[in-house]
């Protein structure tokens, strides 16, 4: 099983500069665990603890085959061999 994950510039310090890495897992949560094992530190940039459970960070967007995972069950979103995953930090800010 192989899933390609596109890594944004700001997180490439964890992937030795690689723009894309591969991982596997039947869900987004499992994929992130697999990526963390290969690229320590990455998980903490994608996931935070909320009410005692892991949740996606508010200002990181993750897409599976071009769909925002927030509409697919978040960390529980299912993955299959050949899926394309993209990680993009939100472009956001504001005056306060």
């Amino acid at each position: 099983m192989s899933i390609e994950v596109r890594i944004p510039t700001i997180l490439r310090t964890y992937t030795g500069g690689e723009k894309a890495v591969t991982g596997d897992g039947g869900s987004l949560a499992a994929l992130i665990e697999d990526l963390e094992a290969k690229h320590p530190g990455l998980k903490d940039r994608l996931v935070e603890e909320k009410n005692g459970a892991d949740d996606l960070r508010r200002f990181v967007n993750i897409y599976i085959n071009d769909e925002d995972v927030r509409f697919m069950g978040g960390l529980e979103a299912p993955l299959s061999d050949g899926d394309q995953v993209v990680v993009l930090p939100a472009v956001a800010g504001g005056a306060v």
């Binding site: 944004p8 510039t9 700001i10 200002f59 967007n61 897409y63 071009d66 925002d68 927030r70 993209v86 993009l88 930090p89 939100a90 472009v91 956001a92 800010g93 504001g94 005056a95 306060v96």
Partner: protein, 147 residues
Amino acid sequence: MLTIDQATYDAIVAHAKRDHPDEACGIVAGPEGSDRPERHVEMVNAAGSPTFYEFDSTELLALYKQMWDRDEEPVVIYHSHTATEAYPSRTDIGLASEPGAHYVLVSTREWAEAGGGNNDAPVPFRSYRIVDGEVTEEEVTVVPSLG
């Protein structure tokens, strides 16, 4: 230093005025590694707020895929402050995630206080690097064209 052409500069200011009192946001893309802001893309502020901006997540992906296809990167990432100065807020600094980009801030405060519309009040246009929480202001040079 940020070097930007007059037409793109004017278009960013016009966008900020048009979306006032909400914050306007967008990017200027350019060829990877070129530091040339060539292609202005106005984005919708999904937050629709006078104090916050966020690119819509679906449009954000579409924008990045388009840039990857064209071997581009975001050379400028801009937004407006509508009641405060053109300086990155703590939120701006905390969320800045493109260490290679010029972060441009424009402020429509003075223009709005002068009545908005066609008045000539200045719209400050300033540029910053934001890397690991460190803000460094840089000079902005406006040229007739990038040449």
